[in-house]
């Protein structure tokens, strides 16, 4: 009996407070009339790419493998020192 009374009180209170909400009439809201795009200077101009396909990161895999880098390195061309004196 007491439980039903509490439940009834809660329902009544919710009904009363529901009537206290802001009366928003969407039809009367002012229309946005901006004619040019504004830039929010506080936001980053460059965002992380989101369309990067899921693929193995072969760049990091190769460039963190010393032996592979040695094996695939282009041959070193000896550059003859032709300068004379201190630069």
């Amino acid at each position: 009996m007491r439980k039903n009374f509490v439940l009834l009180a809660v329902i009544v209170l919710m009904t009363v407070f529901a009537g206290c909400g802001a009366n928003i009439t969407v039809e009367n809201a002012p229309m946005e009339t901006a004619t040019e795009e504004t830039v929010d200077s506080s936001s980053p101009k460059w965002v992380l790419p989101t369309d990067v396909p899921e693929m193995a990161d072969e760049c990091s895999t190769c460039h963190s493998d010393k032996e592979r880098l040695i094996d695939t390195a282009a041959p070193v061309v000896e550059v003859e020192e032709e300068n004379e004196g201190a630069g």
Binding site: D57, S60, S64
Partner: protein, 382 residues
């Protein structure tokens, strides 16, 4: 500086790098190329090896304040070279010098990556720390990789029989302890603190010695310059002598450089006639509100009337417009030097002053503004 092995130059510390903010980006965001390819040749199609060459596009979006300033930085523009070249060329129309500059000078310009990721391209490149982005450049692998033959050798005591700079030897100070990030990124940054365009006009910095000295010795030693430290010499000479006049020691000068393209390899090359230790006091060629001292130390630069003769005749018709003994700031500061031993070390000692008799006839006219006409009298001379 010993070059890195090819694999060392491009070995990434993948675990550490992936934990950093930059490591959250896919490699291709900055370097393009083909991320999923295992074959090196295919993977590198379209590769951008040095993205910060286009720093506005790659670094600017997140570091706009820095890249906006860096556009005019002397590190980027190399305007200091053109300031002295055009003074001696007497013209801004110089196609032969443009060609020379492209062959011999332009490779020294700096990008973000040359200081914060890799060794500079001019010394062969290579990651400093596995492609980690370093906020503070390495003294030896970044700063003196380029500024090595004079500043680096002097500062670290690599010239024979010359001590390392006191700030390095005792203070263990790195370049960035005196040279701020703002100075590196924004050559006119210090000027703009006063020259706001309201009251004092805005200024354009086109040479590293434009504007006030940065760093200035008195920033850390104000009592020495004001003479309030009780030192008689500071009281007597504080206003008229550059600090290095008393606190610098032997530094490097060079003579007669000639640049050309090798017939044998087609590569740019240079020849300098001589490199030697000097300590020379002269009149201040840059005397101004910011650099009021009357006497400074001078370094001989290897300019020569025929330095660019390979590219054309008489390319420096106004050779005498600037001295060949130039304002210098040797990086080998000592508390005690031969000059501080006694008054007679300078007074009555012609050996350490730039006098006319020390100049070759070809260089006399160019150096009239820095020659000391009368060596200070010995003490006791009426």
């Amino acid at each position: 500086m010993a070059p890195l092995e090819p694999w060392e130059k491009v070995l990434i510390a993948a675990d550490e790098f992936s934990q950093t903010l930059h490591g959250q980006l896919p490699c291709t965001a900055c370097h393009s190329g083909q991320q999923g390819e295992k074959d090196k040749e295919i993977a590198h199609v379209g590769l951008v090896a040095r993205p910060s060459e286009d720093f506005n596009a790659y670094c600017g979006p997140c570091h706009t304040e820095i890249t906006d300033d860096f556009r005019d930085s002397l590190h980027k523009t190399q305007a200091g070279y053109w300031t002295v070249l055009e003074a001696r060329a007497g013209s801004e129309d110089h196609p032969e010098l443009d060609e020379m500059f492209g062959n011999h000078c332009a490779s020294c310009h700096t990008t973000c990556g040359d200081c914060h990721i890799s060794q500079p391209a001019s010394v062969g490149g290579g990651f400093i720390e596995g492609h980690l982005f370093n906020k503070t450049p390495s003294l030896t692998r970044n700063c003196t990789a380029c500024h090595g033959s004079r500043v680096g050798n002097e500062y670290m005591g690599k010239n024979e029989d010359v001590l390392a700079d006191l700030h390095f030897r005792q203070g263990r100070m790195a370049c960035v302890d005196c040279h701020s990030g703002m100075e590196m990124h924004n050559s006119s940054g210090y000027c703009e603190e006063c020259h706001t365009g309201q009251g004092l006009p805005e200024v354009e910095v086109v040479h590293r010695y434009d504007g006030p000295a940065n760093p200035d010795c008195k920033d850390c030693h104000p009592e020495a310059v004001s003479g309030s430290d009780g030192n008689v010499m500071h009281n007597q000479h504080g206003d008229e002598l550059q600090c290095q006049v008393c606190h610098s020691v032997t530094y490097t000068s060079c003579d007669s450089c000639h640049v050309s393209i090798s017939d044998k390899t087609g590569n740019p090359k240079f020849e300098t006639a001589g490199t030697y230790g000097t300590f020379v006091i002269g009149r201040n060629p840059l005397q101004s509100f910011h650099r009021p001292e009357e006497y400074v130390v001078l370094r001989h630069v290897p300019v020569d009337p025929d330095i660019f003769a390979y590219y054309g005749e008489n390319l420096l018709p106004e050779f005498d417009a600037l001295p060949t003994w130039v304002y210098a700031t040797p990086h080998n500061i000592q508390l005690n030097t031969p000059q501080t031993e006694s008054c007679e070390a300078c007074h009555g000692n012609p050996d350490i002053f730039l006098t006319a008799d020390k100049l070759s006839p070809e260089e006399l006219e160019a150096n009239l503004s820095v020659i000391v006409e009368e060596v200070p009298d010995p003490f006791g001379t009426p």
